[in-house]
Subunit: 392 residues, 2 copies
């Protein structure tokens, strides 16, 4: 007989999921009601409003897709692209490549703009690609690359797309709630995110928002959306139906309780305060890592505070360190992805995880483990550096 | 400022979600760990084993899709069908029609076999369709039609498909855990279900299982699966990877805690006992409804015990009754779907909801409301009939 699963608690400082606020865990366990219950409909309207705040948008078509971030990505692609369309896709990490996969599976063509992993997307290259491909329908890029920790200049890139009458698909999985993101002011068209990063909710849902221009394109498609489940024309009958909601699929009720609570928490803190907290915690962590002789993959100008890709010191065994942190400290940090596998660690400071206690735990644990493994580090070096940074 | 959402509790006797066992709600709120944590990997293996038990299969490719039942449906179609393929689809309710939508969106052709709503799929018509379409790749049907409450003979239909060297796609959203379902013995190839019906878990996940024959077809496709998110070739790298799991998408951690707990509960009760409980509760409910003069849409020979579609008495206002049940008794029963909208109620006795207390509440509440609305019913008629049925 298999017994109930009672996991040992961890501190989550990887690339997501991040530590979940206990208020969200409590919300998840609330009594399940029907997906057409008037109480539930009211909560859906609130989620929409709260997401509009988080995304800084007035977009009517704003809702959580009932599946993880990669389904939110797919929702943007399958709704905007038709067979034969052309998309310009910027690649500077794992998720740009995944975008290309999505374009191909829509029967569309991808023109790629490549930048080194760890660098932001280069607006000059994008401008050139837009000029060379006047028939491109969308420009696709990742605002915050979770595989490298680089932030691209979404505002500038979207401005270029507009000049060339091109829509934008923007991955904000890791940026939403963690760094400045202004969907309306920047003119982003189709934007998707995840719940398990800077919203500090459990994984499984993908907030998306579509501009009126994008919604118009979706309504006027020639070919039906290849996914029935992700077809926004149908999903909107449920999420946008006001009091007269049409059944499309059964909403993930309790997961939505969790998202609602996470957005209420964000609203209580205030978006700008949340951005500032992520920046402040990053500064502490960076000071401590510097004292441990650990460098960043990404330059500080375009570094994401919430996703710290750092170089594994020479001679240190990646998996052994992560294993020891998990074993001795119940602390999870992330491995490198794709081209960076084995070369970097990814230390997340996302949402609820972005707090002084976590920074201290991570630095002290890492310091001890590295000293145990023979690194030449003075005991307490990280704490001293953090204190200096905080008090300065 | 929007406040935390604290729903008023309901008794869920609609077509799903059903009442969630409190043990499952508790499991949902457990501490979130990483989707690559060794503890989590072990839990995933247990979920697979428990799903194999629930489906009565040894299929290696057995896992929960990280999205609701309609995504599980789509997973079966997009993985098995390629553009130009032909599928025979049986329609005897809403979900057969949704299957046709899926076939079309895969660029495949659907040959339909239609039966009246409320009737099971007619094996003779299926046999004729298989003979007339020797090039058909799959036969698709709904085992338990949630829109009507009719059970089709999955064993016989699958046997016919095998004789014609045709794969099967079978919707078991409402049957899994509620009535006999034997994937291996009956030779079903691609089977999907939901968590919010007879497993009594929260909605949001879709258990699926693929036979080795189906898995082989998926591995040897010419065209890539049109959905990246649902591509079983990729999903298996995570779910089937043993100790070496490859990241595909971030699993919905806490939702999976809930599914694990619901499957542990099923294992504790025993599958056959769960089937018997659903049958027994149905007998009580049917006796009480009969005493209220309320008839069934579906004949008893092929009626699903867990989904009772019943005819709304002449002159009675559908929405008014459901509204009053919700208002005065916090009791949710379901409306009719599609062709049956406004004509029937759908009373669910699924999973945790299939208990004597719920049967009594539903019958007493319905009796009172109908008497208030002028129906000529003797007070206590339902209870008397149930007592007679139980004691006989």
């Amino acid at each position: 007989m298999i017994a109930s699963f009672k996991p040992r608690a961890r501190t989550l400082m990887g690339p997501g999921p991040s530590d979940v606020n206990p208020r969200i865990l409590e919300a998840l366990g609330r009594t399940t009601i029907g997906h057409l219950d008037p109480q539930f409909i009211e909560m859906m309207d609130q989620i929409k409003q709260l997401l509009q705040y988080a995304f800084q948008t007035k977009n009517e078509l704003t809702l959580p897709v009932s599946a993880p971030g990669s389904a939110g990505m797919e929702a943007c692609f399958v709704n905007l692209l038709e067979p034969g369309d052309k998309a310009i896709v910027c690649i500077n990490g794992v998720f740009g490549n995944r975008m290309v996969e999505n374009v191909k599976r829509c029967g569309a063509t991808a023109v790629t703009v490549e930048d080194d992993w760890g660098k932001p997307v280069d607006p000059n290259k994008v401008e050139a690609a837009l000029q060379a491909n006047p028939d491109a329908k969308v420009l696709c890029f990742v605002h915050a690359e979770t595989s490298t920790g680089a932030r691209s200049d979404a505002k500038t890139l979207a401005g270029l797309a507009q000049q060339h009458d091109c829509l934008t698909i923007v991955d904000t999985v890791t940026s939403l709630g963690g760094v400045e993101l202004k969907v309306d002011e920047w003119g982003l068209d189709a934007v998707y995110s995840g719940t398990q990063k800077c919203l500090s909710c459990t994984p499984g849902l993908s907030p998306v928002t579509f501009s009126e221009k994008a919604a118009e394109v979706i309504r006027n498609r020639k070919a039906p959306v290849q996914s029935w489940f992700l077809d926004m024309n149908l999903v909107m009958g449920y999420w946008g139906g006001g009091a007269k909601r049409a059944y499309h699929h059964t909403a993930p009720i309790n997961a939505l309780y969790g998202l609602h609570e996470s957005l209420v928490i964000l609203q209580e803190e205030g978006l700008e305060n949340a951005w500032a907290r992520h920046a402040k915690m990053h500064a502490s962590l960076a000071a401590g890592l510097d004292a441990l002789g650990i460098g960043f993959v990404v330059k500080s100008d375009y570094r994401l505070p919430q996703l710290n890709a750092v170089t594994i010191p020479e001679g240190i065994d990646d998996a052994a360190v992560r294993g020891k942190l998990l074993q001795d400290y119940d602390l999870e940090i992330g491995a490198g992805l794709g081209a960076l596998a084995g070369k970097v660690w990814r230390i997340g400071l996302m949402g609820h995880s972005a707090n002084a206690e976590n920074v201290a735990l991570c630095l002290n644990a890492l310091e001890t483990v590295l000293i145990e493994m023979g690194q030449n580090i003075e005991k307490g070096a990280a704490s001293k550096a953090v204190a200096a940074a905080v008090l300065s």
